[in-house]
Symmetry: C2
Subunit: 343 residues, 2 copies
């Protein structure tokens, strides 16, 4: 049993802000990062929760991310928004571009947001969930570093390439999913390494291409995609849409750009927003009922909706107004506050 | 060894046209169907090849599909096209709406085509491949009948819900994939039943929810999604985007609409087109090189690109100017021409 520390939601957010601001992120950046990692921790998404303070701090200390970068927004067309993050994290760029994306999706039925030149470490579901709170359906995707082998191969080529999707439900929290196209997220392998636990089978190969359950060997070798050749094809699609389509780096290039420093991936992000009102000819209510019937049939047979577990964790943590993190992680976070090194 | 019959490409196309026209499809519909099933047969995609003449003919004989339906095209917004198929197959609607979709994608960077009220039986790759021939990237998806259980469930709820994607390559055939989010396509299970072969493990459950390799039991039970809960989530996304988003039926409703007749699914289709030129700020050549580097790294490690096997079959069949189909299928097709029943 890993020993835990309990923090109130307010304390967790303030601690996150302090760590980030004392390590070189300006208020805009610190707030957008703290918001997202606290939202993840609130939903018990540990791999994208407060643990990421370590990653963000190590990245800015390595001189990689710009903690004071502004964002340049432009409109290449009535259905597309472009946000240049200028070497900052993607989160501020998303926040600044979001109102325009929502407006364009409502006017056009479909709209795309391309974020360029950003460091990226965050879960995608908080972004698509926000768009669904505005009544839109949304899809988001990013490459990462070339850690994942294609089906039939053994060499890190694609990123862990998450894809997230959200659908707005009238009177309910959105239907939302967010998963890596690798079998597990990179953060999961790092957590296993930190905790000295072996990986499940089928997750990775070592540097010689042999199956391995050793997290260290997996980090030196290549991860595998979920769903064999189908998951591999999706992962390649994400490389193309969130890379060359929007004039930004592939995972191969992101890893090269990193140059062995082990920092956060640097690349682009593609977000597509859909307006159910415009695209259904205004029959939003009838079509909401249609979607609800699908969700009911899934739940009634004992299956779970993708977001169900997160929403249950959220309700539990909101009720007690607190989150829990491992004591060792808490100690590491306090070290960051005192400008000590954490590896 | 199944005995085969060899047909020249011209003969296969003319035979398809004759079967379709003599069974109630007008020239527009017959041509669009014959084009697509011959394209699939040319690429050795047997489950979407000439075998589908049986399905199309049985569907129109059951009075389900309208073989003379016109198409109504409208433009809900500068970035969206709507094609009402009026109870015909989707293919004519796609062909009529395609020029407008291409034009809008080039002007807007991203555009959506919603096809409504269509019967659908065809592979999606010929459609996205055509869009890539116009220099666009494209994604297409459809629901089907509620044959597939969600992860953790055992009841047919989603369709086999294929998703296709295509990326234009300068001087090369597009990078294209098209796969069912079920482990196998419904057509594969039907082919196994026709040929009396057992299914692979992990493909389906029987009506009691137990794993089965018997094609008949699978057809009575539920199919499973690829990639466990991730594939299941994608399948639900496809239900929502190609159903309620565009005011059309879910797979549950399509199966109800069918009313036990065993005809082709009836629903909508969503196609999203992206212009790499506009979205990359005109840097198409540089980004093509970036994508080609990704493809090279995949192929150089001995892995295959998703479309590679199809393109090899296409080259082989074009060279000999012929396709092969099982002798029993050929006999059945000739029966259709003579207005006999084939089950």
């Amino acid at each position: 049993m890993v020993e835990q520390v309990t923090l109130s939601l307010k304390d967790a957010h303030e601690l996150s802000l302090s760590v980030l601001q004392s390590n070189g992120f300006n208020e805009d950046h610190a707030r957008s990062i703290a918001d997202v990692i606290c939202a993840c921790q609130l939903d018990d998404c540990h791999s994208h929760g407060l643990y990421r303070l370590l990653v963000c701090t190590n990245t800015i200390r390595a001189g990689h991310v710009n903690g004071e970068a502004g964002v340049t927004i432009s409109e290449p067309s009535p259905a597309s928004v472009h946000a240049d993050a200028h070497g900052g994290y993607s989160l501020v760029a998303f926040e600044k571009a979001r109102p325009l994306l929502v407006q364009k999706a409502r006017q056009m039925g479909i709209a795309a947001l391309a974020i360029n030149n950003c460091y990226h470490f965050s879960a995608l579901w908080p972004e698509v969930e926000k768009l669904s709170e505005a009544g839109l359906a949304a899809m988001a995707m990013v490459p990462s570093h070339a850690w994942v082998a294609p089906a039939g191969g053994s060499k890190g080529t694609m990123g862990t390439n998450p894809i997230a999707f959200s659908w707005p439900r009238i009177g309910e929290k959105p239907f939302t999913f967010d998963f890596a196209t690798s079998v597990v997220a990179r953060g999961e392998i790092e957590l296993h390494r930190r905790e000295g636990r072996p990986l499940p089978e089928g997750v990775a190969v070592d540097s010689a291409g042999n199956p391995t359950t050793d997290p260290e060997a997996a980090l030196d070798g290549a991860m595998l995609t979920f769903g064999d050749y189908k998951g591999s094809a999706l992962s390649i699609m994400i490389e193309l849409l969130a890379g060359p389509l929007i004039d930004d780096l592939t995972s191969i290039e992101s890893l090269e750009f990193d140059g062995g420093k082990g920092s956060t991936p640097y690349h682009g992000e593609l977000i597509i927003a859909f307006d159910p009102h415009l695209l259904s000819g205004g029959r939003t209510k009838e079509n909401n009922a249609r979607a609800e019937r699908l969700f009911s049939q899934i739940v009634d047979q004992g299956a779970r909706l993708p977001s169900q577990r997160r929403y249950e964790a959220r309700a539990k943590n909101l009720k007690r107004n607190a989150i829990e993190i491992p004591k060792a992680l808490y100690a590491d976070i306090l070290k960051l506050l005192n400008h000590e090194q954490v590896t």
